[in-house]
Structure formats: structure tokens, C-alpha cells
């Protein structure tokens, strides 16, 4: 399924409802990265969407930007290890399962593969 989406269903700008629907069906069960207004990102499998771009994702993980505390801490450790160069801080990840993301909060959508 993901391969179909990756092959690039032509962007349905003028193909009508059927083409639009076919395009969206192509993404079902692909892994989407959805960024929302508060800076979080959700990575899960697309199960359902509608004309307001409300999204249902299954098996979802939430990723949150590290807090200042986390960054400071990582810097401290970096220093202790005597390492040089940039400090790399991972996003904070947790499992949240089945979720609905209302379309109005979505800022960016990406597809894997």
C-alpha cells in the first residue's frame, strides 16, 4: 500500500471527486507524520480521513520537542563526556495508540516511503 502512495498518485487538482478519493485511499495504512499547531508530531498509520482533513491514526507515537531542561541536561552530559561538536537531543517519544487529529490543528503532513 505504501508503495502505491510512494509511486506518486498524480496530485488530483482537477481530476474530480473520484480521483481525489483514489488519491487518499492510496495513503490508507501508510505511515504518516503529522505536525500540529503546538509543535508535536504524531507518527502512525492512516485509517480514516474526511473533507475537513480530520485524521485517524492507529498505533501512533507522539513526539514532543525536548524541553529546555532536557537540552541543558544533554549539554551537561555532553560536556562530562568531554565530547566536542553539536549536542544532539532526541525528541521525546511515547505511545498513544489510536487517535483522531482534527484537521484544523494540522500544520504539516508527511508520508513515509
Amino acid at each position: 500500500m505504501a508503495a502505491v502512495a510512494a509511486a506518486g498518485v498524480p496530485a488530483p487538482t482537477a481530476g474530480g471527486v473520484a480521483a481525489a478519493e483514489e488519491y487518499l485511499v492510496g495513503y490508507l495504512n501508510s505511515t504518516l507524520h503529522i505536525h500540529i499547531t503546538d509543535g508535536r508530531m504524531f507518527v502512525g498509520q492512516l485509517k480514516c480521513t474526511d473533507n475537513e482533513r480530520n485524521i485517524i491514526l492507529a498505533m501512533t507515537n507522539e513526539y514532543r520537542q525536548p524541553s529546555k531542561q532536557d537540552v541543558d541536561l544533554a549539554a551537561l552530559r555532553h560536556e562530562e563526556r568531554g565530547a566536542s561538536g553539536n549536542v544532539k537531543v532526541d525528541m521525546k517519544k511515547r505511545f498513544v495508540g489510536l487517535i483522531v487529529i482534527p484537521g484544523r490543528y494540522i500544520t504539516r503532513m508527511e508520508v513515509e516511503g
Binding site: T13, G16, L24, N51, S67, L73, F95, I99, E110, G113
Partner: protein, 738 residues
């Protein structure tokens, strides 16, 4: 050829695995393509209401999805004026008294977890615990992530990094130990207890001994500090508490009274602790893996928490006391003991119930020299085979295949193997919560019914080797035993149904009627067994085998106690079914208005668990209706009810005279007495209500206001469970409405 093929297969598989491993190693993250614009454009073209969805994904499932950015649903939602993470520095030094409060708060949250709250609302809300459990924290699990604490830190810092940290480590380890005990036994997730860890691990790099070691260090440091003596002692008491608790959980200690003793000291010093609520926050839920909406932190009531701790200790002590060697040797006494444990008030928590199950089922044997297989044999012997060589344990050791004792022992053994699991359930299920006891027993009825069919065959096989008949009557020991167990389980399901308020008031007439029918069947089984026992005793006396005689006499006492008890229960159930029937007839109890209900359908729905029986099926609805219409006037019914309660009372009086060994209530003497007392009180209450009914009906008949029984102007209410004299015996409260 086959070999070569196999080799080729494995080498292909190996190459593929290697290739996959390589590609995984060089994996630099998936290719990601931005589709924001085109996806949006496509979605906009869909007509409103049209869903594009995976065909296997149902809208029913969709209902369970959590809505992101909805404060009530999204545990990761951060309000605009708030921060994502709590702003509290867990490394900051605190006053020793503040640490005292944190410790007490944790104690309250911990018992809340025992009580059924998830960790996310209890222990995990402690920011100190949260830091220790943070996924990037490693052994030795410090609160600070930087370099180790330099020497010469102040007392206020040491009290955090040494004392509170050790306390938290031990507390978290205690959770791991409790989980281990509970998860090895039967329990019901969410219903009894929540085992979910929300993606956290409970310090898997640290053993309970390590945690106790940290407690030891903290204990050693305390006297060297400058902390005021009373506070120091209070801190030490809390460390002592958690140390004792963990030691009990690891079985290094086994007297739970030790814990109650420390609890008293803790309670006395709780007033020293000023609250520092900022050390706890439900914001930690934003970091926890969870597919549930955010839930508030549990509110701790200190006094209640202490009381719950005390109850847990007492329950655990009771579990030990109810499983002593002499109780465990008698299956019936052990049964009573487990019921007594389940009926402790308030009911023991999940850990205490798991603790009891560990004692009972944790090892192959119960105590020194009893196994459940032995118990099963004793159970069968006591009920149907006392004095019979068939139930002699020595038979099972005879190895000569031609010996009839060997042959019959093998047949017995095969049968006992088949009933063994179900027999164990009689004990295990009583360790579950009340509603589950009833439900699992309901499922057990069908199993026992099919085992009864097996027993019929077993009896035929046994009869072919050693005939057991008294004249024309066959003993059929195994059939008798299984049927007896089945009837007993049916009785319990009805009584537990009454206790858990499964039946509506107007259904009580039917249920007590069925109960009296089952008790009648049970009574005839006991009689059957008694007849054979007497016959066997007359033969045994001739043999003068003292062991056999003792066995028979003991069984005779036991059967007599069963008879007395069943007679009492039967009289009570007859009194109650008739009383409820007449109250329904005079409209003192009104059935619900159910327009589409048919009596037969209602009967079938209510009797669902019992209708499938093929051996000795329950009577049809018509029989109940016939019995109901055969009842006479109100006055006549009152006469029967009064007579029945009198009978029940005299049986109870007789039962009370029996010793613990005779009636098999060794170890539960107190509970036995209490139950008999409750039943006696029930008798009195039935008599009182009956005379009330009689008085009202006669009075109104004299007034001429009652032209028909339907207008007696009487109202009957059914007391709720907990406010009855005995939860299994409901006595209606009768009063006049005029």
C-alpha cells in the same frame, strides 16, 4: 537430498537475514515526503460526510480514538498558560519535614494503587519517582544526572539524595514485587487491579537487595546529621516501614504485624510534615505511554490510607492463619477458611488475595504432607466412600496389574485427573472478587454436568470390578460426588446472585423456589450416602479395623452436619419463596412493567445457566407455576412460613452443637458461629414479618376493605445487600400503605 535442501534453505535464509541486518544498520531513517498541500487539496474535494477509510477499520473502533488537542481526551495537551513539564527541581534540597510529607504522600498513593488506581494517578505522579524511572536513567539511579554529589553537601540535600532517594527506590521495587506476586495468580485486570506500567520499567537494573542496601545507607547517615531528633526518628520510621514492607514482599520477613507496628509510629509523627504538593504533578502523564485520556491525581486521605494499610496487613496475616496445617488437611475446613477470607469485611485487596493463592497454589503441596490430589480423595471419601477400600490411599500404590485394588485405583485415578482442575477451581475462584466468584461458578455448572456423565461411566467400570450395591440400589459413588458438587455450585450461584443484587424483587420467589428444589436434591444425595455408610459400618464392625471405623464415624458426623445445614437452608428457602410469592400475589411487590415480556422467556433468560443441564435437569416453568398456584390463602401461607422458620431454627440449634471437627469448620469457628447466628436472626425476622402480614390481612379483612386479596394495601420492600441479616437470605419488610 532432504538434507541438502535443508542446508540450501538455511543458507538462503542466513544470507537474507544478513542483508536485512545490513540494510537496517545503514538505515538513515525512512524517506519522507511532504504531502501537506496535495493531501489538503484532495480532502477538500470530498463531499461533506464522505469518509475515506480502511475497509477493516470500523466506526465502532473510531469511537475509542483519543481526540488530540481536546483537553479532556488528549493527555499530551498543554494549556496555553502552562508549561509542558512541572517546574520543580527534584535535586533541590528540602527541609527534612518536607521530605517527611513526600514520604507519607507516597505511602498514601501506594496503597491507592493497591486499591485499584493506576500507577499514572498514584506513585508515578511523584516527581522524584519520575526522575528515577526516566527512560534515560541508569543504575545506580540517581536523582541528578550530572556528576556524583560532591562531598560536604548540606543536610537538606543529603536528605533528598540519600534518604528520599532510597525510600523511592525501595518503594518502586516494592511495586515490582507486588506485580510479580499478583501476576502469577488469578485476578481481573482493571476490575481488581491495574498492572499497566505506561511504558516505564520498575528499575530493572536494581534488585530488591540493592534497594534495601540504599535504605541501610540512609539509616546509617541519619544519626550523623544535624536534623532535629523527632524529625530524624520520624524519617527513620518511614525508612523502617518501607524496609519492612520490601522484606515482607521478598519473604525475608513473614510477620505482617511488624508493618502495623511501624505504621503506628508513622501515624503519630505525620503532624510534623508541612505539605509540599508541588513535589507531585499529574503532568507526568504527558510523558507516559497511555491510550487513555488524562486522569487526575488520586487525592490521598491520610487517615484512610493508614486504615487501608492496616487492613492489608491484617488480611495477609489472616491468610496465613486460615491456611495452617490442620486446616489444610481437611478439604471442607479449607473451603470454609477460603470463604471466610473472601468474606472479611472490607474484602481483602488484590495483593492479599494473591498472597493467599500463593500459599495455596504456589507449590505442589499444601503444607508438609498434603497435595490437592490428597484433598480430592479425602473429599470423595468423606462424602461417599468412608470405610470403603476403594478410597484407601494405599490402593494407589499397588502395582500388581491383576489385583482388583490396582485396577479400581487406576479407574479412580483417571477420573480424579479429569475432575482435578475443576476441583481446584472451587478453591481458587473463591479468592476472586465477589461478582467473579458467581460468574465463574456459573460457567463451572456446565463443566460439572459433563463430568457427571463421565462419572456415570466410571461408576459402571468400578462396579464391574467391585460391585457396590445395597440390595438393588447401586452406590454410584463418583456420580453422587460430582452431582453433589454441582448442586453446591448451583446453590452458591443463586445465593451470590442474591447477594450481588442480580435478581429483581419479584424474581426472588422463583429463585428461592429453585433453591429449595436444589436443596431437596442435595438432601436426597446425603440420605443416599448415609444409607450406604450405615451398611458399610455394619460390615466394618465385623472386621474390627479401627481405622475404618474411625473413618466411618467421622464421615457420619460430617454427613449429619451437612444434613442439618441443608435442612435449615431448605426450610428457610421454602419460607421465603412462599412469602415472596404471596407478597407478589397481593401486589405488595410489583413486577416491572415489561410489555413484550413473556413469562416463559423471562424464565429462560433467568435460568440460562441451569437450562443446559443434561444430568438431572431443573424443573420446567410449568412446575413452578403449579407450585405457585397450589399455595393457599395468605393465612395458610403464613402458617407454612411460621412452621418452616421454626424448623429452620431447630436445625440451626442442632448444628450449633456440632464440634469444629464434626462439622468441618476447624479454624473458622468464629465465622461459623457468626453465620449460624445470622441465619437465626433471619428466622426471627421472617417470623416477625409473617405475623405482620397476617395481622394486616386479617385486620383489613375485618374492615371489609379487602374484597379481594389484590387490594390488601400492603407494601413490601427488599433491603439492600449489606443491610440484611444475612446477604443470602432476603427478608422483605412488610408495612401497610393505608
Amino acid at each position: 537430498m532432504v538434507l541438502i535442501d535443508h542446508d540450501a534453505d538455511t543458507s538462503i535464509a542466513a544470507t537474507r537475514l544478513e542483508r536485512e541486518a545490513r540494510s537496517a544498520m545503514s538505515y538513515a531513517g525512512p524517506k519522507i515526503r511532504d504531502v501537506t498541500g496535495e493531501f489538503d487539496a484532495a480532502a477538500k474535494q470530498l463531499p461533506p460526510g464522505r469518509l475515506v477509510k480502511d475497509e477493516y477499520f470500523t466506526l465502532f473502533e473510531a469511537v475509542g480514538a483519543l481526540e488530540i488537542m481536546d483537553p479532556k481526551m488528549d493527555s499530551g495537551f498543554v494549556p496555553e498558560d502552562d508549561t509542558a513539564e512541572p517546574e520543580f527541581d527534584v535535586c533541590r534540597g528540602l527541609l527534612p519535614t518536607e521530605v517527611l510529607w513526600i514520604m507519607d504522600q507516597l505511602l498514601g498513593l501506594l496503597i491507592g494503587w493497591h486499591d485499584g488506581y493506576p500507577l499514572s494517578q498514584t506513585v508515578f505522579t511523584s516527581l522524584h519517582v519520575d526522575r528515577l524511572l526516566s527512560p534515560d536513567n541508569r543504575r545506580p539511579y540517581n536523582l541528578h544526572f550530572g556528576s556524583s554529589v560532591s562531598t560536604g553537601v548540606s543536610d537538606t540535600e543529603q536528605v533528598i539524595h540519600l534518604v528520599l532517594r532510597a525510600y523511592c527506590l525501595a518503594l518502586v521495587k516494592s511495586c515490582a514485587l507486588v506485580l510479580h506476586t499478583i501476576q502469577l495468580q488469578n485476578f481481573y485486570e482493571e476490575e481488581d487491579f491495574v498492572t499497566h506500567l505506561f511504558g516505564r520499567e520498575l528499575l530493572h537494573g536494581l534488585s530488591a537487595e540493592d534497594a534495601l542496601g540504599s535504605i541501610g545507607e540512609a539509616m546509617n547517615w541519619l544519626p550523623t546529621s544535624d536534623i532535629q531528633k523527632d524529625v530524624r526518628d520520624a524519617l527513620s520510621a518511614r525508612l523502617d516501614f518501607i524496609w519492612t514492607y520490601v522484606s515482607l514482599l521478598t519473604n525475608d520477613l513473614n510477620d505482617w504485624h511488624d508493618l502495623t507496628d511501624v505504621l503506628d509510629t508513622i501515624k503519630a509523627t505525620h503532624h510534623l510534615a508541612p505539605p509540599i504538593p508541588e513535589a507531585f504533578s499529574d503532568k507526568v502523564q504527558r510523558q507516559l505511554a497511555s491510550s487513555t485520556p488524562p486522569r487526575p491525581m488520586m487525592q490521598v486521605s491520610w487517615d484512610l490510607a493508614c486504615q487501608k494499610w492496616r487492613e492489608m496487613c491484617e488480611d495477609t496475616v489472616a491468610a496465613g492463619r486460615l491456611t495452617t496445617e490442620d486446616i489444610c488437611q481437611s478439604p471442607q475446613s479449607l473451603q470454609r477458611a477460603i470463604w471466610a477470607f473472601a468474606y472479611r469485611d472490607p474484602p481483602p485487596n488484590t495483593y492479599a488475595r494473591a498472597y493467599l493463592q500463593t500459599i495455596l497454589f504456589g507449590a505442589e503441596r499444601l503444607g508438609e504432607n498434603t497435595s490437592f490430589f490428597d484433598l480430592l480423595l479425602v473429599d470423595i471419601r468423606d462424602l461417599v466412600l468412608a470405610g470403603d477400600p476403594l478410597a484407601n490411599p494405599d490402593n494407589f500404590l499397588i502395582e500388581v496389574p491383576s489385583d482388583p485394588r490396582h485396577q479400581s485405583a487406576r479407574i479412580m485415578e483417571v477420573f480424579m485427573d479429569k475432575v482435578f482442575d475443576e476441583y481446584m477451581n472451587f478453591f481458587r475462584m473463591v479468592c476472586q472478587n465477589r461478582c467473579r466468584i458467581r460468574r465463574t461458578f456459573t460457567q463451572s455448572i456446565g463443566v460439572l454436568d459433563s463430568l457427571e456423565a463421565v462419572a456415570v461411566q466410571t461408576d459402571a467400570d468400578l462396579d464391574a470390578i467391585t460391585p457396590m450395591r445395597n440390595g438393588d440400589v447401586l452406590l454410584c459413588p463418583m456420580t453422587c460426588w460430582v452431582r453433589y458438587q454441582k448442586l453446591q455450585i448451583m446453590i452458591w450461584t443463586i445465593q451470590l446472585g442474591i447477594e450481588t443484587d442480580v435478581y429483581l424483587p419479584h424474581e426472588l420467589s422463583l429463585m428461592y423456589w429453585l433453591l429449595s428444589w436444589i436443596l431437596e436434591r442435595k438432601l436426597s444425595l446425603i440420605t443416599h450416602s448415609e444409607v450406604f455408610l450405615v451398611w458399610r459400618m455394619s460390615e466394618a464392625n465385623g472386621m474390627r479395623d479401627t481405622r475404618v471405623v474411625a473413618e466411618c464415624l467421622s464421615s457420619q458426623d460430617y454427613l449429619r452436619s451437612l444434613r442439618t445445614q441443608v435442612e435449615a437452608e431448605r426450610s428457610l428457602s421454602i419460607a421465603l419463596w412462599q412469602l415472596f410469592t404471596v407478597l407478589t400475589a397481593v401486589k405488595a411487590i410489583k413486577p416491572l412493567k415489561q410489555d413484550y415480556a413473556r413469562e416463559l422467556l423471562l424464565y429462560e433468560a433467568r435460568m440460562k445457566s441451569y437450562l443446559g443441564l443434561t444430568q438431572d435437569p431443573i424443573p420446567p416453568l410449568s412446575e413452578y407455576k403449579a407450585a405457585r398456584s397450589a399455595l393457599g390463602s395468605v393465612q395458610e401461607v403464613c402458617g407454612t412460613t411460621t412452621a418452616m422458620t421454626k424448623q429452620a431454627k431447630s436445625h440451626l440449634a442442632e448444628l450449633k452443637k456440632m464440634t469444629p471437627h464434626q462439622a468441618r469448620y476447624v479454624g473458622t469457628e468464629e465465622q461459623f458461629k457468626r453465620e449460624v447466628k445470622q441465619m437465626e436472626t433471619t428466622c426471627v425476622a421472617i417470623a416477625v414479618q409473617t405475623s405482620q402480614l397476617l395481622r394486616l390481612s386479617v385486620h383489613q379483612a375485618e374492615m371489609g376493605s379487602a374484597t379481594s386479596e389484590e387490594k390488601l394495601g400492603i407494601e413490601a420492600t427488599v433491603p439492600a445487600p449489606g443491610s440484611r441479616y444475612h446477604d443470602w437470605w432476603v427478608v422483605p419488610q412488610i408495612k401497610s400503605t393505608k
